[in-house]
Amino acid sequence: MRQFFRHRLGVIGIAMLLLAIVVAIFAPWIAPYDPYANVTITIDDIYQPPSAAHWLGTDDGAKDVFSALLYGARVSLVVGFAGALISVLVGGTIGIIAGYRGGWVGHGLMRFTDFFLVLPDLALLIVLVAIVGQSLRNIILVIGLLGWTTTARLIRSQTLSVRERKYVIRAKAAGAGDWYTLRRHVIPQVLPLALANTVLVVSLAIIAESTLAFLGLGDPLLISWGQMLNLGFTRGAVGAGAWWAMFPPGLAIVWVVLSVTLIGNALEDILNPKLGRHHLEPEVPVETPPPDVPVSADVLFQVRDLSVGFEVSSGVVTAVEDVSFEVPRGKVLGLVGESGGGKTTTALGALRLLPPNGRVLGGEVLLDGTDLTRLEEGALRELRWNRVSIIFQGAMNALNPVRTVGSQIVEAIRTHDESIGQKTALDRAGELLELVGMPKRRIESYPHELSGGMRQRSMIALALACGPDLVIADEPTTALDVMTQAQILDLLERLQEELSLAMVIVTHDLGIVNEACHDVAVMYGGKIVEKGPVARVFTDPQHPYTRLLLEAFPSLDHPGRRLASIPGAPPLLTAMPTGCRFAPRCPSAFERCREEEPHLYATSSGVAACFLADPIVVAGARND
């Protein structure tokens, strides 16, 4: 609800609609004249222009247009809301039954809906009203019974998706009946959507009523806006130049329909917050000239004090803080940690591939001495794929589903080197597929024709298309089967050695780090807590988090060993503990840990952000 009031156009819509409703309810008190009253008139009273006595002039019957306008609101709104209510009730019921039951019932109901959907609405409306008679009740019924089709389709698709949700399946497995499932799970989930839809159906119903009345098929005993337009047209208002008899009802219709549409759009925005947003949009670079930064020759990729934040409603939350690491040529670094640790954000932030609300807050990302955080967009695009490429988690989402694997590789090759011909690029694409262990003919395949493992292989081929020096792989084997995972890891290791690539592997799996990486950086709460060669860090972890994570990780070498779990849960970005971020879950924490944040201390196996590695603490312990 609060969300809604932040939506300015929605609030304007509500205000406009409220005004119309107030006017409709209080018409008899506001209106200066009673438009239903019989008055004796003279020719001079007809089509009088606006005056102090008649603010909007008079119509062909010498009636006050302003008063008629106020009374007209009643019919329009009553027909609009009552008609919409019928439509939504009918459509909602049919949609829910069709979606929930499925099978031939659902099928039959949807064919029935489709049949109604293709009928020409207006023509049918006119015929039906002509048959049943032009009373208000009949008009409401006819409009209501013709307007339910879109609602039915919408509600059906929502019901279908809710029906497949895990908690619905769980309830069914627990023995829940249909009525219970509908009442408890389906209807509450469908209702918000139905509400947003109702608003749009209201506007359609109002337009339908106006159209009917304008065509002379309204209730002849009632004043409505459409009726006013109809009378104006048929009784010479145009010829008499009496614009005041025509404009006000027209504007009133626009007013109400606009208000309802604004409300509907606002509701839609709130219910589908992701509408129209691109996930991985590059952000604007920091506009300062690139400084000359000396880097030692064998270090290819260096991240220095990188901080990344996300803009949220309450400000900016920092997701990654002062992260530094380096990757020498031909070496593999594992960035490991649990969800929320900041490992993926670090990788995406370094390449400026953050979601739209993500920002690099500070630090440098040096690729062969070029700072990626300061590069302008064109130069950065040039660099991506040519020098550095990324293998995303979930290859299905990263590959274009409507284009063949081959054409996507060709595109990558030719975008970065236009001198390469189509034929050469296609040959190269075939070679790349063979390199990743796929048959050459697969260049003709679409992503959906490939298995998960093949898709990931294509993704790797695509990443290698322009011969990068650095490859960043974000959870490259998550969601793959154990055997496929082993095959992909084996492939990555082989390619890394053959092409002497530098790699950053982002993963939660300590086993993958051990088998595929030279160095490891362990992240917790957006910071690196320990860093060093894998062989050292994993055999002699210095940070309690690393140690506990290793103990929590299963191993087939000790199959009978029960795993340890770390008490508590990772911290939220919005509520980082003071002092050491791991202190609340750390069995070794002491007072200092809760007050002061440890920096990285040198240890026997690298560096660790823990006071236990502080030389002063270490020396003190030795003296005890």
Partner: protein, 323 residues
């Protein structure tokens, strides 16, 4: 010996495939049983039929052939009342704790849902508190009035378990109960399931692809490949000395995080074939590093290789058939 709480005999489940005449044999003749207080892991890769088997037990999928009985009730022939009793006896724990809780409901409503569904309306709050405590959410008063989004992943999965426990079931069916959770909280959930089996005598059927994680928490293990059980036995025995070449390969590729241990992974070639196109003979033979000539013709049956182990492989066929 008491009767098993779950018995599956010669279960077949077929689906219609993408093409008109394709038949997907998702489950192709499996048999297993689960005793009181026992944890049995059904292990295999995606598409091997393990989840389909679980769904059939839960009555969410109808078997094509075969027999499933839960606490003595035959699922196929059960009338409405018996089925309701069976559904109260077995409870499901789904993979994704983020999707398996209705975001609009309070923890109390979620936990008591099985009770409400089965018309047990008395002392709901009291029983919800007890179930939450049994699932390790202590003190339960602190959780009962919250909503799912206020909880962490591990806590949500404990809520799912509490919901299952509220009706005091005899059988838990846990489909990948920890695969969506962070490593640091997995052990807690698995310890809890094992403890429920040990202390309350609940039988747990665990469906998983992760051999290493379940190793310490299940009493027996059954390895599935393409709709069949290819090997079964006590977990530690199977892991220490796998018999079937598929089990051996699967165990060899589990990533190991100890740098001092060198592993020698056996990478299988290719991928698991489609269940609508099962290879002749032994269904594993096209990928099997140990395949020999008869493997492409003879479909090996699951035979006992010792007192408590079985294996479906021609390498062991001679051992058990004294010819």
């Amino acid at each position: 010996m008491t009767e098993p709480i779950l018995t599956i005999r010669d279960l077949h489940i077929e689906f219609r495939g993408k093409q008109r005449h394709d038949v997907v044999r998702a489950v192709d003749g499996i048999s297993l049983h689960l005793d009181r207080g026992e944890v049995l892991s059904l292990v295999g890769e995606s598409g091997c039929g393990k989840t389909t088997t679980a769904n059939a037990v839960l009555g969410l999928t109808t078997p094509t052939e075969g027999h499933i009985s839960v606490a003595g009730i035959d699922i196929a022939t059960a009338d409405r009342k018996q089925m309701k009793a069976a559904r109260a006896y077995m409870q499901m724990i789904a993979q994704d704790p983020y999707e398996s809780l209705n975001p609009r409901m309070t923890i109390e409503d979620i936990v008591t849902e099985p009770l409400v569904v089965h018309g047990q309306q008395d002392d709901l709050r009291e029983r919800a508190l007890r179930a939450l405590a049994s699932a390790g959410l202590t003190p339960p008063e602190e959780f009962i009035d919250r909503r799912p989004h206020e909880l962490s992943g591990g806590q949500r999965q404990r809520v799912v378990i509490a919901a299952a426990l509220s009706i005091e079931p005899g059988l838990l069916i846990a489909d990948e109960p920890v695969s969506m959770l962070d490593v640091s909280v997995r052990a807690g959930i698995l310890n809890l399931l094992k403890q429920l089996a040990d202390d309350k005598g609940i039988g747990v059927l665990m469906i998983t692809h992760d051999l290493a994680t379940v190793a310490a928490y299940s009493d027996r293990i059954a390895v599935m490949y393409l709709g069949r059980i290819v090997e079964s036995g006590p977990t530690l025995d199977v892991i220490a000395s796998p018999e079937h070449p598929y089990t051996r390969a699967l165990l060899s590729v589990v990533p190991n995080h100890d740098p001092t241990v060198k592993t020698q992974p056996t990478l299988l070639v290719g991928e698991t074939p489609d269940a609508s196109n099962i290879p002749s003979g032994c269904r594993f033979h096209p990928r099997c590093p140990a395949a020999f000539e008869p493997c492409s013709q003879i479909d090996p049956v699951l035979l006992a290789t010792s007192d408590d182990r079985t294996c479906a492989c021609l390498l062991y066929a001679e051992v058990s058939s004294p010819a």
